[in-house]
Symmetry: C2
Subunit: 317 residues, 2 copies
């Protein structure tokens, strides 16, 4: 099967057909028709075999994650995802692998009404680059740079499960079976917080998705906004499964690992009840972990100073 | 240098700043503001080290080519390139390599008023994925599917130089020094036919960029349009340098190799004088090589039947 047959079989005509896509896969480029007066957000993320996911990861999870990490960026902008392209580099044409990979990718794409409009399939070390374009709503988009002194800092869901999943997957940590399922599911099938991000537009002052670890990502947000913060690590939301291993593994998987793809955002104090309402509406925990201040970021644990050693994942040091 | 420092040093704030980019590199996604009523075209192409370019290729040429192949797709759609993102996977942070790579990339981006608005830098085998979004003009865009019986078939520039460049580069072919310069320049620094593509919108009936070889790409165009053709290989435009080696190497580098990134397009016979005018205006040869017919594609050489063995580059067979 050459790449043209491969594209025809696995990608062309798969998934949703959006009305604003005039021409999808199969020409030199796709053609889309944006609604008048709407800004667009554009992001891209690359997953490399053995770097972003272990070689043993099931292909459906790889397909899911390749889109999920991009959806998470669109979520952090408070926009609605729409059109994706994919650069897929494959060492070989393993049809079974491709079938499962596409199942994972297109199931998530369908859930968020994203159409894959184009791509490129080439030969080489397994690498998946996805580019995603989203549409900004009437309330405008969220950025990292709008946090102001006195804003509250929130985190959605729980942090740390994906980090423990990686430790379990790599054999560094042994856990009970039910906890293993929780951790590996979070690692392999992160659920991007698209609805939350969209609902926060017009209400939050700044947002970022936690993809490099809370310490690093809150650092990015504060740096972009030119502010500091006081953050209480005891308030950082973690799952019951994660709590069982906290004494053993420490805070590193919670604060220094980002693959949970939750949102960290800031909002003025008068938004507190709105955010509480959102949490109920979406069935998603949203916890206040601190407050924006001037100066630097100070971490505490209750009323004690705390030093987070985690610095987030770096590809190059 | 970690990837954040790398992005700051080599990518952030580099190149042109377009007015329609509200937020560039440095947030979770870029924000752009499309003009009302304009469709967009979206494309992506990936270059893999050792597959799309020899390991020895100078980094500035790699940077140039990574954008050029995408510009060529936008050209084939008759659109104007605008916003790019890059997924850059690097085995190591070689600052000298990155500096030269960026020089090549941004020089071409500036020439076509393209702004790099975002990207992702990761660790892994050297792979460069670029995604490019273009803006469709008032005359609409070109596709592969509009060719009709009786249309003339044209090719811009010359074909074969890049194919000979690859043979020279890989040591398969030895040529005179001045010819070597011509061939390697075409291989490493293809000039996408953006102005031509844009000028053809509203005049051509179908277009494709020759990236897989003329035989393959004209095949794609005819298949998409549901037509056949008669093509005279003796009319296919080749450079004087290429002509000197034609007897030795045969038609394969001319017909079966695509890296010249010329445009192949079709137009009704009444467009002939307009196209001739375009050729003069752009200082770019445009040659009629055949005519669209019903049925299949028949190749001739003057009045003799001709069988092109070249089938175009396939990543997987």
């Amino acid at each position: 099967m050459d790449e043209f047959a491969l594209i025809d079989r696995f990608f062309k005509g798969q998934g949703v057909s959006r009305k604003d896509v005039l021409l999808g896969i199969g020409d030199d480029a796709a053609v889309v028709r944006p609604a008048d007066g709407r800004d667009l957000v554009i992001t891209t993320d690359v997953l490399v075999n053995g770097v972003h996911f272990p070689e043993s990861t099931e292909p459906a999870a790889v397909g899911h994650k390749a889109l999920a990490v991009n959806l998470s960026d669109i979520a952090a902008m408070g926009a609605t995802p729409a059109w994706a392209t994919m650069g897929l580099t494959l060492a070989e044409t393993n049809e079974q692998w491709l079938e499962a990979f596409c199942t994972g990718f297109f199931a998530l794409a369908e859930a968020f009404d994203v159409q894959l409009v184009g791509g490129d399939v080439t030969r080489g070390p397994l690498t998946i680059g996805v580019q995603l374009i989203g549409i900004v709503g009437e309330a405008g988009c969220l950025t990292r740079s709008g946090a102001r002194e006195g804003d509250e800092i929130y985190v959605s869901g729980t942090l740390g499960d994906a980090g423990l999943g990686l430790q379990v997957d790599s054999g560094m940590l042994t856990v009970a079976e039910r906890d293993e399922a929780v951790f590996l599911d979070r690692l392999n099938r992160p659920l991007p917080r698209v609805e939350l991000g969209r609902a926060l537009a017009g209400h939050a002052t700044a947002a970022i998705d936690v993809s490099d670890g809370l310490v690093a990502d809150l650092g990015h947000l504060c740096e972009s906004s030119g502010v500091g913060a006081e953050v209480d690590v005891a308030r950082v939301p973690i799952s019951d499964s994660c709590r069982r291993y906290l004494a053993k593994v420490g805070w590193e998987p919670v604060l220094g690992f980002g693959d949970d793809y939750e949102l960290c955002f800031t909002a003025a104090p008068d938004q507190a009840s709105h955010i509480e309402g959102l949490s109920h509406e979406l069935g998603l925990g949203i916890v206040r972990i601190g407050r924006i201040e001037t100066g630097t970021i100070r971490w505490v644990h209750g009323d004690q100073p705390f030093s987070p050693h985690a610095q987030g994942y770096r590809h190059f040091r």
